[in-house]
């Protein structure tokens, strides 16, 4: 069997926790604009880190630096302790960093299975191995505890939450170690957000490092283990989620107080 879904169950012993990703003093400039300046940021296995901040605070730029869309102007990025240069999205993917952007990039006219395996279809002697792909898709959704009506449904018929789940599931096929989610619950109804949030929790349970950008502080506090607050391109503090109140978080984001 292909090991995409049935890969080894990630196990993290509590004491040997090393960061999966560690950014040190990373900066990115667009001419005179300091989009991200001198940021330190870490992601550990089995945790959800939320990045919060106002518009233009550098959240998306930070994620794009990790996804290989941008390369940093200064600073170092380490992946599992090794210095790396994430020069392109495919380099990021090879390292095990998967990204779900806001637009999801799904093909509406194709079925769920076709979307999952788009560009990496299994085949036997030139014919598509439909059954194998379908079995694997069903197993994947079951593992993620995602509710999906039928894997043969066209994506255009799915709700926003289900589309988000398909996009997240697709990244899981590459057996990533880190998943970056850009605003996963924006424009979703309450039941759909509930499903996506539960999905994020099950990614965490499977030992992945999850980075979530979100504007919804109630959701951030619900799922994040740590919260990194960005303001004007600077990381002004990373907090354990239970230790920081909603009011303080708002104050930090808006600049009413300093960390």
């Amino acid at each position: 069997m292909n090991n995409a879904v049935t890969g080894p169950e990630p196990q993290i012993a509590p004491r040997e926790r090393k960061p999966l990703i560690s950014m040190r003093g990373v900066s990115k400039y667009f001419h005179a604009v300091h989009a991200v300046s001198n940021v330190d940021f870490e992601v550990y296995p089995g945790e959800v880190v939320a990045i919060v901040g106002d518009n233009g605070s550098g959240k998306s730029t930070l994620v794009k630096l990790l996804a290989g869309v941008f390369t940093p102007d200064s600073g170092t990025i380490e992946f599992e302790g090794e210095p790396v240069s994430i020069s392109s999205p495919s380099v990021a993917q090879d390292l095990g960093i998967a990204t779900v952007f806001q637009d999801l990039a799904l093909s509406d006219n194709l079925s769920i299975v076709a979307n999952l395996f788009l560009g990496r279809e299994y085949n036997t002697r030139g014919f598509l191995a439909d059954h194998q792909m379908e079995d694997e898709a069903v197993a994947l959704f079951r593992k993620l505890k995602a509710r999906m009506p039928s894997i043969r449904t066209r994506v255009s018929a799915l709700s926003g939450g289900q589309k988000q789940s398909v996009a997240i599931a697709r990244t899981m096929l590459g057996n990533p170690k880190v998943i970056l989610l850009d605003e996963p619950t924006s424009a979703l109804s309450i039941t759909q957000s509930a499903e996506v949030l539960n999905l994020i929790e099950s990614l965490r349970e499977r030992g992945l490092g999850v980075v979530v950008i979100s504007h919804n502080l109630a959701e951030v506090q619900a799922i994040a283990d740590r919260i990194a607050v960005l303001r004007l391109g600077r990381n002004i503090g990373t907090f354990h989620a239970p230790d920081i109140s909603y009011e303080r978080l708002v104050a930090l984001i808006t600049g009413a107080t300093d960390a």
Binding site: S150, I190, A218, A222
Partner: protein, 414 residues
Amino acid sequence: MNAKSPTPGSQSSLRESNRARIIDAIKQFGGLTQVELAGATGLSAATVSNIVKELTAVGVLNTTQSIRSGRRAQHVTLARTPGLVGAVQFGLRHMRVAIADTSGTLLSDHRLPLGADHRADAGLDRAALLIADMLETVDAGTAELLGVALALPAPVDMTTGVISSPGIMRGWDHVPVTRVMGERINKPVAVANASNMGALGELKHGAAMGARHVLYIQAGQRIGAGLILNSQLFWGASGSAGEFGHMTVNPDGAICRCGNRGCLETEAGASVLLESLRGSHGVLTLGDMLRFADEGDLGCARVISDAGRKIGMAAANLCNVLNPERVVLGGDLAQAGDILLNPVREAIERFSLPSVAEDLTVTQGMLGTEAELLGVVQFALERFVEDGSILMGSGSASALSPFPTPDSTDLEDQ
């Protein structure tokens, strides 16, 4: 479930299991079209169509015409008794919302993670939105909703829904939950304590079934208890009975959220256990701790068994007073199984009167984390369904079995 179960591997057992698959799938999604059912169960469209037809005839399923992607489709839902109740269970870090019909069958349920120290206004808003959304998925109007019951993990005044001990849930202090939720959904609302609901759940469907006197202990982030005396849940004067976690066990202990010192919760609550592991194991969640303990991590197992000893000592005192026949442990921490239960057993044996400990059994809850939600459903039914006979009276066969007794007319058709 038929009286005689078919031989395994036979045609009829296959049919039986296909039926179960279809019913499970519908329960999971609330309602599906036949095409979606085929995809979700992996059965062929013809099989699905046959089974749906058959189950509709005997009154298990209900089909309505609808349109999906511009095509006509059969929307299949569970057939339900008229009238629905909503059940909302708030935990410290999540909430569960369910819709059940008057026979107690869960039609749809959802879970939503919540932040630490979540707020009443946001929580109740979301609960109301979820209920509205879920009513839609089971093809029901708001008119069918008879009422909503809520459970909070804190002592509550049952008439107003105000948390009677400020500080225990900071975001909910002084909020008259009954009125606030009533305004949002425009239906009768009842509020109760979550541990009592856990006890009710285990009494009706789980490990406390059939017993007359039971002490139900819920151990997790919070520690609470539900008392079942003479097969009835004991509420106390204002609904605060069973605040087991706030029994003083260490007069010099840490200050508790409730304002006292050295409550059981400050010694054996899950957050205290996790805090004590922070130095050696780093930041863990409750799930991590349980998993590591299960995998043989000594530190995690030790912390849990120490908590078990403390809970057992406090329970021993309570057993001396009540002389229950069963002690049922529920809540997240009880998932540790014997790692928690054995020290509880030992402590009760050692610290309670021999006559009390003699016939006492200490067991793990059967419903796990479902106990509270099922208890809330039960509570809602008792509160909002006027005709109690629907619950336990003559029609009970349909309440218990997934296949209701078919109407005689339907039988003749076949």
